[in-house]
């Protein structure tokens, strides 16, 4: 336990759903992702301005898609002569990560008798940013508070994203030349450091390292569905390493 969650003591005091929601709001505003989302979406707003889209469209894209890389793929894939179905496929392929992060989240937040429709809104908020904070804090709070907590996190970060999109749209001409590149770079650097921070088990560390190795190997060789394959191959290998490690530790404990 090299890295205990920093703000879990606060979760002990929450009582009602509203308190849990507000704890989510506070957690989001103190998260590195508040900064990351604002930076990312100022860049996205400016990009939409460059491509001649309206500010309303840009903001709605953030609210509805809520997936930074997919939004960039959509905007840059809307030029004249592009085939819309190809852009739709590219958008879908860039967002495959939502499947495992949502699958990993649901058992953490669902209660007896939670209907699928009740999960549609909290799951819409799920992006790497919200997921990282949710899996970091939710296990330390009572189960009935986890969905309102996630909603508080998601509402806060998504609202920040929508506002930053408008700000970036109108600030486009004021931004320095390197801003666009820096705004796109904040996605990988924040995904890497926040996932590494959450990686306490060998399982997570191995998955992170394997993803960083296998990902570029497949992408640079233009393997189709490179993200999906990297996830499945890297994740399965990491799980295998975890099983071997666990079996060995168990053998050592039992003489």
């Amino acid at each position: 336990m090299a890295n205990p969650p920093q703000s879990s003591p606060g979760s002990a005091t929450i009582g009602t759903d509203t308190d849990a929601f507000l704890f989510g709001v506070r957690t989001a505003s103190r998260s590195v992702f508040a900064f990351v989302i604002v930076f990312t979406y100022i860049g996205f707003g400016a990009l939409c301005h460059d491509y001649g889209l309206s500010v309303g469209w840009a903001m709605l894209s953030t609210a509805l898609q809520w997936a930074g890389p997919a939004q960039v793929v959509l905007v840059t894939g809307l030029g004249p002569g592009t085939v819309l179905i190809e852009t739709a496929v590219a958008v879908a392929l860039s967002s495959v990560r939502f499947v495992p992060i949502v699958v990993a989240l649901i058992p953490l937040v669902k209660r007896e008798g939670t209907r699928p429709l009740q999960l549609v809104l909290p799951v819409h908020f799920m992006a790497v940013s919200v997921w990282v904070e949710a899996v970091r804090h939710a296990p330390h709070m009572p189960r009935e508070h986890r969905i309102p907590f996630c909603n508080g996190l998601g509402t806060t970060l998504l609202t920040l994203g929508v506002v930053a999109t408008a700000v970036g749209y109108y600030m486009q001409s004021l931004l320095p030349a390197l801003f666009g590149a820096a705004a796109m770079f904040i996605t990988p650097i924040s995904f890497l450091t926040s996932t590494a921070r959450n990686a306490r088990l060998l399982l997570d560390k191995a998955a992170l390292a394997l993803g960083l190795l296998i990902g570029p190997a497949l992408a640079l060789n233009q393997v189709q569905f490179d993200l999906l394959w990297t996830g499945v191959i890297g994740g399965t290998l990491a799980y295998g390493i975890h099983r071997v490690h666990r079996a060995r530790s168990a053998a050592r404990v039992q003489p």
């Binding site: 890389p69 992060i101 990993a104 549609v120 590149a181 590494a196």
Partner: protein, 112 residues
């Protein structure tokens, strides 16, 4: 007006739905699983490897403006940010700020 309407229709059909279906699929697949089950460990590993793949893809095959920054600068900035994270109290914020500073500095020194 029709152009505007058309662009919103594209946003829904080409932007929103192709992303959102994955979230809905996640609900369908995750509902029956137990928090403590083995398969959840595997799913978490797949999620982590996939996020790492997104990191690597943006650095090696960057979109738009980031492509103007040389590959070596992007890779070094990612590494510098990661080491800053490791050595500055495992703070993700420190890693992000130092990594960004390295990217901007590198782009200014070696062409951006």
């Amino acid at each position: 007006m029709t152009v505007e309407l058309h662009s919103y229709l594209i946003l829904i059909l080409v932007g929103f739905l192709p992303s959102e279906v994955w979230r809905w699929l996640g609900i369908a697949l995750g509902r029956g699983l137990d928090e403590q089950s083995e398969i959840i460990l595997w799913v978490r590993a797949v999620a982590t490897a996939l996020i790492a793949a997104v990191v690597a893809r943006i650095v090696f095959i960057p979109p738009g403006a980031l492509a103007g920054v040389p590959l070596s600068v992007r890779v070094v900035a990612l590494a510098v940010g990661f080491f800053a994270f490791l050595f500055i109290r495992r703070s993700a914020f420190a890693g992000v700020v130092v990594g960004e500073a390295a990217l901007v500095f590198g782009a200014m020194m070696f062409g951006g």
